[in-house]
Protein backbone atom coordinates (compact mmCIF):
# COMPACT_ATOMS: atom_id res chain seq x y z
CA UNK A 1 0.00 0.00 0.00
CA UNK A 2 1.37 3.38 -0.96
CA UNK A 3 1.34 5.92 1.81
CA UNK A 4 -1.46 8.47 1.41
CA UNK A 5 -0.35 11.96 0.48
CA UNK A 6 -1.47 13.29 3.82
CA UNK A 7 1.42 11.47 5.43
CA UNK A 8 3.46 14.40 4.25
CA UNK A 9 2.41 16.05 7.43
CA UNK A 10 2.06 14.96 11.02
CA UNK A 11 -1.43 14.24 12.27
CA UNK A 12 -2.27 15.81 15.57
CA UNK A 13 -4.96 14.11 17.55
CA UNK A 14 -7.13 15.42 20.36
CA UNK A 15 -8.69 12.89 22.70
CA UNK A 16 -12.07 13.59 24.34
CA UNK A 17 -13.70 11.30 26.91
CA UNK A 18 -17.41 12.07 26.87
CA UNK A 19 -18.37 9.58 29.55
CA UNK A 20 -16.30 6.54 28.68
CA UNK A 21 -15.26 3.81 31.10
CA UNK A 22 -11.49 4.42 30.63
CA UNK A 23 -11.12 1.12 28.77
CA UNK A 24 -10.64 2.67 25.32
CA UNK A 25 -8.81 5.63 26.83
CA UNK A 26 -6.00 3.48 28.22
CA UNK A 27 -5.82 1.61 24.92
CA UNK A 28 -5.36 4.96 23.14
CA UNK A 29 -2.44 5.72 25.45
CA UNK A 30 -1.13 2.19 24.86
CA UNK A 31 -1.20 2.93 21.12
CA UNK A 32 1.01 5.97 21.73
CA UNK A 33 3.57 4.23 23.92
CA UNK A 34 6.50 2.08 22.71
CA UNK A 35 4.77 -1.26 21.98
CA UNK A 36 2.53 0.25 19.29
CA UNK A 37 4.24 3.64 18.99
CA UNK A 38 2.11 5.64 16.57
CA UNK A 39 4.36 8.64 17.14
CA UNK A 40 6.74 7.13 14.57
CA UNK A 41 4.10 8.07 11.96
CA UNK A 42 3.97 11.61 13.27
CA UNK A 43 0.69 11.00 15.08
CA UNK A 44 0.74 12.92 18.32
CA UNK A 45 -1.73 13.76 21.09
CA UNK A 46 -2.22 17.49 21.42
CA UNK A 47 -3.52 19.43 24.38
CA UNK A 48 -6.12 21.52 22.59
CA UNK A 49 -8.70 20.89 19.88
CA UNK A 50 -7.54 24.09 18.15
CA UNK A 51 -4.33 22.32 17.08
CA UNK A 52 -5.98 19.04 16.13
CA UNK A 53 -6.59 17.35 12.78
CA UNK A 54 -8.41 14.38 14.24
CA UNK A 55 -10.78 14.10 17.20
CA UNK A 56 -10.61 10.73 18.94
CA UNK A 57 -13.81 10.42 20.97
CA UNK A 58 -14.56 7.70 23.52
CA UNK A 59 -17.74 6.88 25.39
CA UNK A 60 -21.43 7.63 25.06
CA UNK A 61 -22.34 11.31 25.40
CA UNK A 62 -23.51 12.09 28.92
CA UNK A 63 -25.81 15.07 29.45
CA UNK A 64 -23.20 17.34 31.09
CA UNK A 65 -20.70 16.61 28.30
CA UNK A 66 -23.14 17.37 25.46
CA UNK A 67 -22.49 21.14 25.19
CA UNK A 68 -18.75 20.58 25.75
CA UNK A 69 -18.52 18.06 22.93
CA UNK A 70 -20.30 20.41 20.52
CA UNK A 71 -17.95 23.21 21.52
CA UNK A 72 -14.84 21.06 21.06
CA UNK A 73 -16.06 20.07 17.59
CA UNK A 74 -16.58 23.72 16.69
CA UNK A 75 -13.12 24.64 18.01
CA UNK A 76 -11.37 22.08 15.81
CA UNK A 77 -10.23 23.74 12.56
CA UNK A 78 -11.30 22.35 9.17
CA UNK A 79 -10.46 20.01 7.53
CA UNK A 80 -11.00 17.62 10.39
CA UNK A 81 -11.92 14.00 10.89
CA UNK A 82 -13.84 12.52 13.80
CA UNK A 83 -12.97 9.00 14.96
CA UNK A 84 -15.21 7.30 17.51
CA UNK A 85 -13.36 4.68 19.52
CA UNK A 86 -15.36 1.87 21.10
CA UNK A 87 -18.76 0.28 20.92
CA UNK A 88 -20.51 2.63 23.35
CA UNK A 89 -19.52 5.73 21.39
CA UNK A 90 -20.68 4.12 18.15
CA UNK A 91 -24.04 2.79 19.31
CA UNK A 92 -24.41 3.54 23.06
CA UNK A 93 -23.55 -0.16 23.54
CA UNK A 94 -24.15 -1.40 27.07
CA UNK A 95 -25.25 2.06 28.20
CA UNK A 96 -28.38 2.03 26.09
CA UNK A 97 -31.17 3.00 28.45
CA UNK A 98 -29.76 5.46 30.91
CA UNK A 99 -31.34 8.69 32.10
CA UNK A 100 -28.03 10.52 31.86
CA UNK A 101 -26.81 9.33 28.45
CA UNK A 102 -27.87 11.36 25.40
CA UNK A 103 -26.79 8.69 22.93
CA UNK A 104 -23.94 7.75 20.63
CA UNK A 105 -21.55 10.41 19.30
CA UNK A 106 -23.09 10.56 15.81
CA UNK A 107 -26.31 11.91 17.29
CA UNK A 108 -24.38 15.00 18.36
CA UNK A 109 -21.66 15.62 15.77
CA UNK A 110 -20.84 14.08 12.35
CA UNK A 111 -18.59 11.02 12.60
CA UNK A 112 -16.18 9.78 9.91
CA UNK A 113 -14.75 6.57 11.31
CA UNK A 114 -16.15 4.05 13.80
CA UNK A 115 -13.69 1.81 15.63
CA UNK A 116 -15.44 -1.26 17.03
CA UNK A 117 -14.56 -3.17 20.17
CA UNK A 118 -15.28 -3.00 23.86
CA UNK A 119 -12.68 -1.80 24.37
CA UNK A 120 -11.05 -1.30 20.97
CA UNK A 121 -7.62 -2.86 20.67
CA UNK A 122 -4.68 -0.51 19.96
CA UNK A 123 -4.32 -2.07 16.48
CA UNK A 124 -7.95 -1.18 15.73
CA UNK A 125 -7.44 2.37 16.96
CA UNK A 126 -4.39 2.79 14.70
CA UNK A 127 -6.44 1.41 11.80
CA UNK A 128 -9.17 3.96 12.58
CA UNK A 129 -6.72 6.85 12.55
CA UNK A 130 -5.24 5.64 9.23
CA UNK A 131 -8.76 5.64 7.76
CA UNK A 132 -9.15 9.19 9.05
CA UNK A 133 -5.98 10.13 7.14
CA UNK A 134 -7.58 8.94 3.91
CA UNK A 135 -10.69 10.94 4.75
CA UNK A 136 -8.66 14.09 5.40
CA UNK A 137 -6.89 13.57 2.10
CA UNK A 138 -10.14 13.48 0.13
CA UNK A 139 -11.37 16.53 2.04
CA UNK A 140 -8.24 18.45 1.10
CA UNK A 141 -8.47 17.38 -2.53
CA UNK A 142 -12.06 18.56 -2.78
CA UNK A 143 -10.98 21.92 -1.39
CA UNK A 144 -8.30 22.10 -4.09
CA UNK A 145 -5.49 22.45 -1.59
CA UNK A 146 -2.43 20.31 -0.96
Amino acid sequence: MALPRSFKRALWVFHVATGSCNGCDIEIVAALTPRYDVERFGIMLTGTPRHADVLLITGPVTKPMLPRLKRIYEQTPDPKAVVVVGGCGSTSGVFYESYNVVGPIDEVIPVDVYVPGCPSRPEAIIDGVVKAVAKLETLEKSRGGE
Binding site: A17, G23, I26, E27, P34, M65, R68, V94, E97, P119
Partner: protein, 419 residues
Amino acid sequence: MNNDSINLKVGQCAATTYTVPVGPVHPALKEPIRFSFDLDGERIVGVDIKPGFAHRGIEYMGMKRNLIQALYLSERICGICSISHPLAFTQAVENAAGIEVPPRAQYIRTIIGELERVHSHLLWAGVGAHELGFDTLLHLTWNVREKSMDLLEELTGNRVDYAIPIFSGVRRDVPAEKAHLAYEALDYYKSLLQQMIDAFLHDKSVEMRTRDVGALTYDQAIELCAVGPTARASGVKKDVRQDMPYLAYADMDIRAITPADFGTEPRGDVYDNIIVRLLEVQQSIGIIEYCLENLPSGELMSIPKVPALLAALKKASGEGIGRHEAPRGEVIHYVRLAEGVEELAVWKVKAPTYSNLMAWVPKFLGDEIADVPIIAASIDPCMCCMDRVHLADAAGNKTTRMKEELVRLSREKTRRICG
Protein backbone atom coordinates in the same frame (compact mmCIF):
# COMPACT_ATOMS: atom_id res chain seq x y z
CA MET B 1 -5.10 61.19 42.35
CA ASN B 2 -3.43 61.40 45.74
CA ASN B 3 -1.12 58.91 47.37
CA ASP B 4 -3.76 57.52 49.72
CA SER B 5 -5.98 56.17 46.98
CA ILE B 6 -3.00 54.58 45.23
CA ASN B 7 -2.00 52.81 48.43
CA LEU B 8 -5.55 51.63 48.91
CA LYS B 9 -5.56 50.13 45.43
CA VAL B 10 -2.25 48.38 45.97
CA GLY B 11 -3.61 46.95 49.20
CA GLN B 12 -6.74 45.69 47.45
CA CYS B 13 -4.73 44.04 44.72
CA ALA B 14 -2.57 42.16 47.18
CA ALA B 15 -5.63 40.75 48.90
CA THR B 16 -7.31 39.60 45.70
CA THR B 17 -7.50 35.92 44.96
CA TYR B 18 -8.06 34.73 41.44
CA THR B 19 -10.24 31.83 40.46
CA VAL B 20 -8.82 29.52 37.84
CA PRO B 21 -11.14 26.89 36.44
CA VAL B 22 -9.61 23.61 35.24
CA GLY B 23 -11.73 21.20 33.25
CA PRO B 24 -13.97 19.43 32.50
CA VAL B 25 -11.90 18.94 29.34
CA HIS B 26 -8.29 19.87 30.02
CA PRO B 27 -4.93 18.51 28.83
CA ALA B 28 -3.89 17.72 32.41
CA LEU B 29 -6.96 15.55 32.95
CA LYS B 30 -7.60 12.23 31.33
CA GLU B 31 -11.25 12.20 32.32
CA PRO B 32 -13.83 14.95 32.65
CA ILE B 33 -13.98 16.65 36.04
CA ARG B 34 -14.01 20.32 36.96
CA PHE B 35 -11.77 21.99 39.51
CA SER B 36 -12.05 25.58 40.54
CA PHE B 37 -8.92 26.91 42.23
CA ASP B 38 -8.70 30.11 44.26
CA LEU B 39 -5.20 31.43 43.89
CA ASP B 40 -3.17 33.87 45.89
CA GLY B 41 -0.29 34.45 43.52
CA GLU B 42 0.88 30.94 42.71
CA ARG B 43 -0.49 29.39 45.92
CA ILE B 44 -3.75 27.50 46.02
CA VAL B 45 -5.88 28.87 48.85
CA GLY B 46 -9.21 27.30 47.95
CA VAL B 47 -10.44 24.45 45.83
CA ASP B 48 -13.84 23.35 44.67
CA ILE B 49 -14.48 20.07 42.89
CA LYS B 50 -17.40 19.43 40.59
CA PRO B 51 -17.68 15.83 39.46
CA GLY B 52 -20.54 14.22 37.55
CA PHE B 53 -19.48 14.53 33.91
CA ALA B 54 -18.94 10.82 33.38
CA HIS B 55 -22.05 9.68 35.23
CA ARG B 56 -23.83 7.09 33.10
CA GLY B 57 -26.42 5.84 35.62
CA ILE B 58 -25.04 2.30 35.78
CA GLU B 59 -26.86 1.31 38.97
CA TYR B 60 -30.17 2.31 37.35
CA MET B 61 -29.39 0.42 34.13
CA GLY B 62 -28.25 -2.63 36.13
CA MET B 63 -31.53 -2.78 37.98
CA LYS B 64 -33.37 -3.12 34.66
CA ARG B 65 -31.39 -6.13 33.40
CA ASN B 66 -30.97 -9.69 34.57
CA LEU B 67 -28.07 -10.46 36.86
CA ILE B 68 -25.71 -11.85 34.25
CA GLN B 69 -26.31 -8.83 32.01
CA ALA B 70 -25.68 -6.61 35.04
CA LEU B 71 -22.39 -8.45 35.60
CA TYR B 72 -21.17 -7.39 32.16
CA LEU B 73 -22.32 -3.87 32.95
CA SER B 74 -20.40 -3.91 36.26
CA GLU B 75 -17.27 -4.71 34.26
CA ARG B 76 -17.83 -1.53 32.27
CA ILE B 77 -18.06 0.74 35.29
CA CYS B 78 -14.34 1.20 34.78
CA GLY B 79 -11.99 -0.08 32.13
CA ILE B 80 -8.94 0.03 34.39
CA CYS B 81 -10.52 -1.71 37.40
CA SER B 82 -12.38 -4.01 35.03
CA ILE B 83 -12.08 -6.96 37.39
CA SER B 84 -12.37 -5.14 40.71
CA HIS B 85 -16.01 -4.22 40.18
CA PRO B 86 -17.10 -7.69 38.96
CA LEU B 87 -15.17 -9.26 41.88
CA ALA B 88 -16.99 -7.13 44.44
CA PHE B 89 -20.30 -7.53 42.60
CA THR B 90 -20.12 -11.33 42.32
CA GLN B 91 -19.19 -11.56 45.99
CA ALA B 92 -22.16 -9.39 46.93
CA VAL B 93 -24.61 -11.49 44.90
CA GLU B 94 -23.12 -14.80 46.07
CA ASN B 95 -23.34 -13.48 49.61
CA ALA B 96 -27.02 -12.57 49.14
CA ALA B 97 -27.97 -15.80 47.36
CA GLY B 98 -25.83 -18.08 49.53
CA ILE B 99 -23.83 -19.52 46.61
CA GLU B 100 -20.50 -21.21 47.33
CA VAL B 101 -17.47 -20.58 45.14
CA PRO B 102 -15.07 -23.50 44.48
CA PRO B 103 -11.52 -22.94 45.81
CA ARG B 104 -9.90 -23.12 42.37
CA ALA B 105 -12.19 -20.35 41.15
CA GLN B 106 -11.27 -18.23 44.18
CA TYR B 107 -7.58 -18.60 43.38
CA ILE B 108 -8.10 -17.75 39.70
CA ARG B 109 -10.05 -14.64 40.66
CA THR B 110 -7.18 -13.64 42.93
CA ILE B 111 -4.57 -14.16 40.20
CA ILE B 112 -6.45 -11.97 37.70
CA GLY B 113 -7.20 -9.37 40.39
CA GLU B 114 -3.53 -9.07 41.30
CA LEU B 115 -2.43 -8.94 37.67
CA GLU B 116 -4.79 -6.03 37.29
CA ARG B 117 -3.10 -4.32 40.23
CA VAL B 118 0.29 -4.75 38.52
CA HIS B 119 -0.91 -3.18 35.28
CA SER B 120 -2.90 -0.46 37.02
CA HIS B 121 -0.05 0.65 39.29
CA LEU B 122 2.39 0.72 36.37
CA LEU B 123 -0.18 2.68 34.37
CA TRP B 124 -0.44 5.16 37.24
CA ALA B 125 3.33 5.47 37.57
CA GLY B 126 3.57 6.25 33.86
CA VAL B 127 0.79 8.84 34.00
CA GLY B 128 2.45 10.37 37.08
CA ALA B 129 5.75 10.67 35.20
CA HIS B 130 3.91 12.27 32.28
CA GLU B 131 2.29 14.83 34.60
CA LEU B 132 5.76 15.74 35.84
CA GLY B 133 6.87 16.29 32.24
CA PHE B 134 9.11 13.20 32.33
CA ASP B 135 7.79 11.48 29.19
CA THR B 136 10.79 9.15 28.82
CA LEU B 137 9.74 7.51 32.06
CA LEU B 138 6.11 7.33 30.85
CA HIS B 139 7.21 5.40 27.78
CA LEU B 140 9.56 3.16 29.77
CA THR B 141 6.85 2.31 32.32
CA TRP B 142 4.15 1.65 29.74
CA ASN B 143 6.51 -0.56 27.79
CA VAL B 144 7.09 -2.61 30.94
CA ARG B 145 3.33 -2.66 31.58
CA GLU B 146 2.63 -4.35 28.23
CA LYS B 147 4.01 -7.62 29.63
CA SER B 148 1.17 -7.83 32.14
CA MET B 149 -1.33 -6.99 29.39
CA ASP B 150 0.11 -9.84 27.31
CA LEU B 151 -0.28 -12.25 30.20
CA LEU B 152 -3.83 -11.08 30.89
CA GLU B 153 -4.68 -11.55 27.23
CA GLU B 154 -3.12 -15.00 27.25
CA LEU B 155 -5.07 -16.07 30.35
CA THR B 156 -8.42 -14.38 29.70
CA GLY B 157 -8.57 -13.66 25.97
CA ASN B 158 -8.78 -9.91 26.36
CA ARG B 159 -6.46 -7.04 27.23
CA VAL B 160 -9.15 -5.11 29.09
CA ASP B 161 -12.57 -6.30 30.38
CA TYR B 162 -11.59 -9.89 31.12
CA ALA B 163 -15.06 -11.34 31.80
CA ILE B 164 -13.56 -13.89 34.21
CA PRO B 165 -15.78 -13.91 37.34
CA ILE B 166 -19.30 -15.16 37.08
CA PHE B 167 -21.66 -15.92 39.96
CA SER B 168 -20.60 -19.23 41.55
CA GLY B 169 -17.13 -19.29 39.98
CA VAL B 170 -15.03 -18.24 37.00
CA ARG B 171 -15.57 -18.62 33.27
CA ARG B 172 -12.06 -19.69 32.27
CA ASP B 173 -9.39 -21.87 33.77
CA VAL B 174 -5.71 -21.08 34.19
CA PRO B 175 -4.45 -24.33 32.66
CA ALA B 176 -1.16 -25.89 33.75
CA GLU B 177 0.33 -25.46 30.27
CA LYS B 178 -0.06 -21.69 30.55
CA ALA B 179 1.55 -21.42 33.98
CA HIS B 180 5.03 -21.06 32.45
CA LEU B 181 3.88 -17.87 30.67
CA ALA B 182 2.83 -16.46 34.01
CA TYR B 183 6.14 -17.41 35.67
CA GLU B 184 8.02 -15.86 32.76
CA ALA B 185 6.13 -12.57 33.20
CA LEU B 186 6.70 -12.63 36.95
CA ASP B 187 10.45 -13.18 36.47
CA TYR B 188 10.48 -10.29 34.01
CA TYR B 189 8.93 -8.00 36.61
CA LYS B 190 11.19 -9.24 39.38
CA SER B 191 14.24 -8.47 37.27
CA LEU B 192 12.95 -4.99 36.41
CA LEU B 193 11.59 -3.88 39.75
CA GLN B 194 14.85 -2.53 41.10
CA GLN B 195 15.30 -0.60 37.86
CA MET B 196 11.83 0.92 38.25
CA ILE B 197 12.54 1.83 41.87
CA ASP B 198 15.79 3.49 40.80
CA ALA B 199 14.09 5.34 37.94
CA PHE B 200 11.36 6.74 40.18
CA LEU B 201 12.59 6.86 43.73
CA HIS B 202 16.30 7.55 43.32
CA ASP B 203 15.84 10.16 40.62
CA LYS B 204 16.68 13.71 41.64
CA SER B 205 14.11 15.44 39.42
CA VAL B 206 11.24 13.12 40.42
CA GLU B 207 12.12 13.59 44.08
CA MET B 208 12.28 17.38 43.77
CA ARG B 209 8.87 17.54 42.11
CA THR B 210 7.11 15.10 44.44
CA ARG B 211 8.67 15.34 47.92
CA ASP B 212 6.35 17.30 50.26
CA VAL B 213 4.01 18.04 47.36
CA GLY B 214 0.36 17.20 47.87
CA ALA B 215 0.84 15.97 51.42
CA LEU B 216 -1.95 14.28 53.36
CA THR B 217 -1.21 13.73 57.04
CA TYR B 218 -2.08 10.55 58.94
CA ASP B 219 -4.87 12.33 60.85
CA GLN B 220 -6.34 13.85 57.69
CA ALA B 221 -6.33 10.47 55.97
CA ILE B 222 -8.23 8.95 58.91
CA GLU B 223 -10.62 11.90 59.19
CA LEU B 224 -11.45 11.97 55.48
CA CYS B 225 -11.78 8.16 55.27
CA ALA B 226 -9.19 7.88 52.52
CA VAL B 227 -8.69 4.36 51.19
CA GLY B 228 -6.14 2.35 49.28
CA PRO B 229 -2.64 3.60 48.41
CA THR B 230 -3.73 7.19 49.18
CA ALA B 231 -4.34 6.27 52.84
CA ARG B 232 -1.38 3.88 53.03
CA ALA B 233 0.99 6.57 51.74
CA SER B 234 0.01 8.59 54.82
CA GLY B 235 0.93 5.63 57.03
CA VAL B 236 -2.59 4.29 57.60
CA LYS B 237 -2.33 0.48 57.64
CA LYS B 238 -5.58 -0.16 55.88
CA ASP B 239 -6.12 -2.87 53.27
CA VAL B 240 -9.21 -5.02 52.78
CA ARG B 241 -6.98 -7.97 51.92
CA GLN B 242 -5.42 -7.64 55.37
CA ASP B 243 -8.42 -6.50 57.42
CA MET B 244 -11.17 -8.76 56.05
CA PRO B 245 -9.50 -11.47 53.96
CA TYR B 246 -11.58 -12.95 51.17
CA LEU B 247 -10.91 -15.22 48.14
CA ALA B 248 -7.39 -16.64 48.34
CA TYR B 249 -6.07 -13.79 50.48
CA ALA B 250 -7.19 -15.62 53.62
CA ASP B 251 -4.53 -18.28 52.94
CA MET B 252 -1.73 -15.73 52.80
CA ASP B 253 -0.18 -13.32 55.23
CA ILE B 254 -0.84 -9.97 53.63
CA ARG B 255 0.19 -6.76 55.29
CA ALA B 256 -0.71 -3.24 54.21
CA ILE B 257 2.29 -1.55 52.62
CA THR B 258 3.28 1.89 53.87
CA PRO B 259 6.35 4.02 53.12
CA ALA B 260 7.83 2.59 56.35
CA ASP B 261 8.49 -0.61 54.36
CA PHE B 262 10.84 1.45 52.19
CA GLY B 263 12.56 2.74 55.30
CA THR B 264 11.18 6.27 55.24
CA GLU B 265 8.80 8.09 57.57
CA PRO B 266 5.31 8.37 55.93
CA ARG B 267 4.52 11.94 54.86
CA GLY B 268 1.58 11.22 52.57
CA ASP B 269 3.06 13.23 49.70
CA VAL B 270 3.23 12.23 46.05
CA TYR B 271 6.64 10.60 46.55
CA ASP B 272 5.12 8.32 49.20
CA ASN B 273 2.33 7.45 46.80
CA ILE B 274 4.94 6.28 44.30
CA ILE B 275 6.71 4.21 46.99
CA VAL B 276 3.49 2.47 48.03
CA ARG B 277 2.40 1.66 44.51
CA LEU B 278 5.78 0.33 43.38
CA LEU B 279 6.11 -1.85 46.48
CA GLU B 280 2.58 -3.13 45.92
CA VAL B 281 3.60 -4.33 42.47
CA GLN B 282 6.23 -6.43 44.24
CA GLN B 283 3.62 -7.67 46.73
CA SER B 284 1.23 -8.61 43.91
CA ILE B 285 3.97 -10.60 42.18
CA GLY B 286 4.41 -12.59 45.40
CA ILE B 287 0.66 -13.18 45.68
CA ILE B 288 0.35 -14.39 42.07
CA GLU B 289 3.31 -16.72 42.59
CA TYR B 290 1.74 -18.18 45.73
CA CYS B 291 -1.59 -18.68 43.93
CA LEU B 292 0.05 -20.41 40.95
CA GLU B 293 2.03 -22.74 43.19
CA ASN B 294 -0.90 -23.60 45.43
CA LEU B 295 -3.67 -23.59 42.82
CA PRO B 296 -6.23 -26.11 44.15
CA SER B 297 -7.70 -28.62 41.72
CA GLY B 298 -11.44 -28.96 41.23
CA GLU B 299 -14.34 -27.43 39.38
CA LEU B 300 -14.56 -23.84 38.16
CA MET B 301 -18.22 -23.13 38.92
CA SER B 302 -20.48 -24.60 41.56
CA ILE B 303 -23.48 -24.09 39.23
CA PRO B 304 -21.94 -24.57 35.77
CA LYS B 305 -25.13 -24.32 33.67
CA VAL B 306 -26.14 -20.71 33.01
CA PRO B 307 -29.95 -21.35 32.92
CA ALA B 308 -29.69 -23.16 36.27
CA LEU B 309 -27.61 -20.30 37.63
CA LEU B 310 -30.18 -17.72 36.50
CA ALA B 311 -32.98 -19.81 38.00
CA ALA B 312 -31.12 -20.09 41.32
CA LEU B 313 -30.56 -16.34 41.36
CA LYS B 314 -34.20 -15.67 40.54
CA LYS B 315 -35.27 -17.78 43.52
CA ALA B 316 -32.87 -16.09 45.89
CA SER B 317 -33.74 -13.16 48.09
CA GLY B 318 -31.78 -11.14 50.59
CA GLU B 319 -29.01 -8.58 50.90
CA GLY B 320 -25.33 -8.95 50.26
CA ILE B 321 -22.14 -6.92 50.43
CA GLY B 322 -19.00 -7.53 48.43
CA ARG B 323 -15.69 -5.84 49.19
CA HIS B 324 -12.48 -5.91 47.23
CA GLU B 325 -9.21 -4.06 47.50
CA ALA B 326 -9.07 -2.55 44.03
CA PRO B 327 -5.80 -0.94 42.85
CA ARG B 328 -7.18 2.42 44.02
CA GLY B 329 -8.62 1.24 47.32
CA GLU B 330 -11.65 -0.43 48.73
CA VAL B 331 -14.60 -0.97 46.39
CA ILE B 332 -17.94 -1.96 47.92
CA HIS B 333 -20.98 -3.33 46.13
CA TYR B 334 -24.29 -3.68 47.94
CA VAL B 335 -27.13 -5.66 46.37
CA ARG B 336 -30.60 -6.72 47.37
CA LEU B 337 -32.26 -9.59 45.55
CA ALA B 338 -36.02 -10.04 45.51
CA GLU B 339 -37.57 -13.46 45.07
CA GLY B 340 -39.17 -14.16 41.69
CA VAL B 341 -37.49 -11.26 39.92
CA GLU B 342 -34.59 -11.61 37.49
CA GLU B 343 -33.35 -8.06 38.06
CA LEU B 344 -31.58 -6.63 41.06
CA ALA B 345 -33.90 -4.93 43.53
CA VAL B 346 -31.16 -2.59 44.72
CA TRP B 347 -27.60 -2.07 43.52
CA LYS B 348 -25.26 0.39 45.15
CA VAL B 349 -21.63 0.87 44.20
CA LYS B 350 -19.02 2.75 46.17
CA ALA B 351 -15.83 3.12 44.17
CA PRO B 352 -12.49 3.96 45.84
CA THR B 353 -12.19 7.39 44.20
CA TYR B 354 -15.42 8.42 45.92
CA SER B 355 -13.73 7.96 49.30
CA ASN B 356 -10.52 9.62 48.15
CA LEU B 357 -12.16 12.65 46.59
CA MET B 358 -12.10 14.79 49.72
CA ALA B 359 -8.43 13.95 50.28
CA TRP B 360 -7.78 16.21 47.29
CA VAL B 361 -8.67 19.33 49.27
CA PRO B 362 -5.87 19.19 51.92
CA LYS B 363 -3.52 17.87 49.25
CA PHE B 364 -4.10 20.90 47.01
CA LEU B 365 -4.21 23.61 49.66
CA GLY B 366 -0.94 25.51 50.03
CA ASP B 367 0.66 24.02 46.95
CA GLU B 368 1.44 25.76 43.69
CA ILE B 369 -0.72 25.88 40.60
CA ALA B 370 2.05 24.06 38.66
CA ASP B 371 1.65 21.07 40.99
CA VAL B 372 -2.05 20.66 40.15
CA PRO B 373 -1.61 17.89 37.52
CA ILE B 374 0.58 15.65 39.67
CA ILE B 375 -1.50 16.18 42.84
CA ALA B 376 -4.68 15.47 40.89
CA ALA B 377 -3.06 12.29 39.59
CA SER B 378 -1.65 11.28 42.99
CA ILE B 379 -4.89 9.71 44.27
CA ASP B 380 -5.17 7.87 40.92
CA PRO B 381 -8.64 9.28 40.32
CA CYS B 382 -11.14 7.28 38.35
CA MET B 383 -14.12 9.43 37.47
CA CYS B 384 -15.93 6.80 35.49
CA CYS B 385 -16.01 4.64 38.64
CA MET B 386 -17.36 7.18 41.00
CA ASP B 387 -19.30 9.89 39.16
CA ARG B 388 -22.82 10.36 40.39
CA VAL B 389 -25.55 12.96 39.97
CA HIS B 390 -26.39 15.42 42.68
CA LEU B 391 -30.02 16.30 43.19
CA ALA B 392 -29.79 17.54 46.78
CA ASP B 393 -28.99 21.07 45.70
CA ALA B 394 -30.35 24.19 47.37
CA ALA B 395 -33.82 24.98 46.06
CA GLY B 396 -32.87 28.43 44.80
CA ASN B 397 -29.93 27.03 42.90
CA LYS B 398 -32.10 24.49 41.21
CA THR B 399 -34.59 27.00 39.87
CA THR B 400 -31.87 29.13 38.30
CA ARG B 401 -30.58 26.09 36.48
CA MET B 402 -34.08 25.23 35.37
CA LYS B 403 -34.48 28.75 34.07
CA GLU B 404 -31.28 28.58 32.03
CA GLU B 405 -32.38 25.29 30.67
CA LEU B 406 -35.76 26.68 29.68
CA VAL B 407 -34.22 29.70 27.97
CA ARG B 408 -31.91 27.41 26.04
CA LEU B 409 -34.77 25.14 25.01
CA SER B 410 -36.86 28.12 23.98
CA ARG B 411 -34.07 29.54 21.80
CA GLU B 412 -33.48 26.19 20.20
CA LYS B 413 -37.12 25.90 19.35
CA THR B 414 -37.16 29.35 17.76
CA ARG B 415 -34.18 28.36 15.62
CA ARG B 416 -35.82 25.11 14.65
CA ILE B 417 -39.09 26.72 13.66
CA CYS B 418 -37.47 29.55 11.74
CA GLY B 419 -35.18 27.05 10.01
